[in-house]
């Protein structure tokens, strides 16, 4: 590896070191400031001072909502890929299950005509995605290797095809008039309306914070230790008495549930769901975002998911030599990934352990090769 790459690596590492050594109150203060910043971000009074950060081609609140959904998805997928080390190529399938559960049970265009309120269906959507995760994982997670990648890929495709061609799921025509989340201001206007995307963004942001705290506590428990051991060496984990199948299934189910939650939130915002929302590419983008950010690290996943979703949106409406940059978003994305793999394969903000695992592998490669 070149000297430049090594130097960049060690520079980054010292930033991480300093953060870990900073006193606790300071870290909390920084954290509070960051959270405050993101709550304030969609307000024009605030973001007008931020130079080129707000998007020009589309409504900034709208963009932030999309970004927050991606962040939530990245946090969920990070449990599966980052913590338990399971390759899930069809994560967006769970998002689809969540969104469609809400659509089918609430929309007037659904054949079921249940017209349930949005809030009542959300727990159901989360439970159903979790169950679909468990039924997908139970036969596959017993096997080693790449089966899971293939099965999850197939699962996402299956959902997409069902959405496209089944009459029950309405294909392109989709479901409309999906109800919004409940809540009214004092003057009787709904909090979650059609025009203003900010309340939805704040809702997702709040849920992200809750989910992150939950996940963080989980990773510091026996469950987290079990996940790390499985990721690092599944045989050894088994030999130490870790019920590996059970914990892999848990990681998979927890990730699925978060994906379903994101789907349910999305459906409640856009109030229209059809088969075009669930392309395979979305699964790949989230996976790439997790890896880019630093899989195995919650902050890394948040940064990765946020950055990727934001940059894609940022390209909208920018022209360069007559080309619309947005059309090249995936090319750009591919280049970034390749550069990352060379300079920082463990991701922007890696997990400390993860970095050591990578070093271990690099050593093996250089010894073996």
């Amino acid at each position: 590896m070149s000297g430049a790459a090594e130097r960049i690596r060690s520079d980054w590492r010292s930033v991480g070191e300093r953060w870990r050594r900073a006193p606790k109150w300071m870290r909390w203060a920084v954290l509070a400031a960051v959270v405050l910043f993101f709550y304030a971000l969609p307000n024009k009074e605030f973001y007008q001072y931020l130079g080129p950060i707000p998007t020009t081609g589309s409504n900034f609140g709208q963009v932030l909502f999309t970004v927050s959904i991606y962040v939530l998805l990245a946090v969920g997928l990070n449990i599966v890929v980052g913590f338990a080390g399971l390759l899930d190529l069809g994560y967006f399938g769970f998002f689809a299950v969540g969104a469609y559960t809400v659509a089918v049970l609430t929309s007037p265009s659904s054949d079921l005509k249940t017209h349930w309120p949005w809030l009542a269906v959300v727990p159901l959507a989360v439970a159903l995605t979790m169950i679909s995760g468990i039924s997908l994982g139970t036969p596959t997670l017993r096997l080693r290797g790449d089966y899971l990648a293939i099965v999850t890929l197939g699962f996402a495709e299956m959902i997409r095809i069902a959405a496209t061609s089944s009459t029950f799921l309405k294909g392109q025509r989709g479901f409309n008039q999906i109800p919004h989340p409940p809540g009214e201001y004092a003057d009787g206007k709904p909090v979650f309306g059609v025009l203003d995307a900010r309340p939805y963004y704040w809702l997702v942001l709040t849920l992200i914070i809750l989910v992150v705290f939950g996940v963080r506590n989980l990773t510091r428990s026996r469950v987290g230790r079990a996940w790390v051991s499985i990721r690092e060496d599944e045989d050894a984990a088994q030999l130490m008495g870790v019920p590996t199948f059970k914990f892999k299934l848990w990681a998979f189910a927890a990730g699925a549930a978060i994906g379903g939650l994101a789907g349910a939130l999305y459906a409640g915002k856009v109030n229209f769901v059809n088969s075009q929302n669930f392309e395979l590419l979305n699964s790949i983008i989230i996976l790439a975002a997790v890896i880019l950010g630093g899989s195995g690290n919650i902050v890394g996943a948040i940064v990765g998911g946020g950055l990727v979703a934001y940059l894609i949106e940022r390209f909208r409406g920018i022209e360069l030599f007559g080309w619309e940059l947005y059309e090249f978003r995936f090319l750009f994305f591919g280049v970034v990934l390749v550069v990352m793999m060379i300079f920082r394969p463990e991701g922007l903000i890696p997990n400390r352990r993860r970095a050591a695992e990578f070093k271990d592998r690099r050593k093996e490669v250089s010894v073996g090769g």
């Binding site: 230790r225 060496d233 050894a236 088994q238 130490m240 008495g241 870790v242 590996t244 050591a356 050593k363």
Partner: protein, 236 residues
């Protein structure tokens, strides 16, 4: 009888690695399993610890039939293996690795006592407590694997080539530690390439050849068996 293996066969796909082997380990013993590369020693260990299902035969441990039991439950029964080679967790520190060894245990005081004992047996590990396992030298990783297995306080400790890749000095040391562990009350099934040492330390031994047990007996006697001498001790 602590461990009893009866007529066990094991397949890797279509390759049969074990052809009906039987062996026993009594409480308090050190039993050695020797054989050439590819004879099926590690495979036997995998069958006992359960990470590979057996095709036929029975395995009994501490009076219980464990043939079909999940590996993690076998650990809870008191069976723990230090895997061959670098079976440690590379991203975890030495202490975290040792802690994983006690994964099935809830008695904190006992775990702390065992940790102190392991660090006493392997002072090198104490010096490197915070270092990631993957950055240890090969020999240190080997010690960590043994120490980690001890942390489960097993009734039966399965050691797969604990001396692999160690310098002669360290080999001596690790074998003394094995004897010491045994004298402190742990039964040991030991797989070794280093037949000389293994036979000298073991109470009894089995010789494995292409998936079959071809000889068994008292360790010291096998050490003087002409056929064993020629095949495994490098003397004619």
């Amino acid at each position: 009888m602590l461990l009893e293996i009866e007529d066990v066969s094991l397949l890797y796909g279509r390759i049969q690695a074990l052809h009906g082997i039987s062996l026993t380990v009594d409480e308090g013993e050190i039993v050695a399993l020797i054989g050439a590369n590819g004879a099926g020693k590690s495979t036997t260990m995998r069958a006992i610890s359960g990470i590979r299902p057996v095709a036929t035969g029975r395995i009994r441990f501490a009076g219980q039939d464990i043939t079909k039991m999940r590996p993690d439950l076998r650990v809870r029964l008191g069976l723990c293996q230090a895997p061959e080679g670098r079976g440690i967790f590379p991203g975890m520190s030495v202490l975290e690795n040792l802690d994983m060894g006690a994964y099935t245990r809830r008695d904190r005081a006992g775990v702390a006592a065992d940790l102190a004992r392991v660090l006493e047996l392997f002072p090198r590990l104490a010096e490197r407590a915070k270092q990631p396992g993957g950055t240890l030298s090969g020999g240190e990783q080997q010690m960590l694997a043994v120490g980690r297995a001890l942390m489960s306080r097993p009734k039966l400790l399965l050691l797969d080539e604990p001396s692999m890749g160690l310098a002669p000095m360290l080999i001596q040391q690790i074998f003394s530690i094995i004897t010491e562990i045994n004298q402190q009350g742990t039964t040991i099934l030991l797989v070794e390439q280093n037949a000389q040492q293994a036979l000298a330390r073991a109470h009894r031994a089995y010789v494995l050849e292409t998936g079959r047990i071809v000889k068994s007996g008292i360790g010291a006697e096998l050490l003087h068996d002409p056929a064993v001498k020629e095949a495994y001790l490098g003397v004619a």
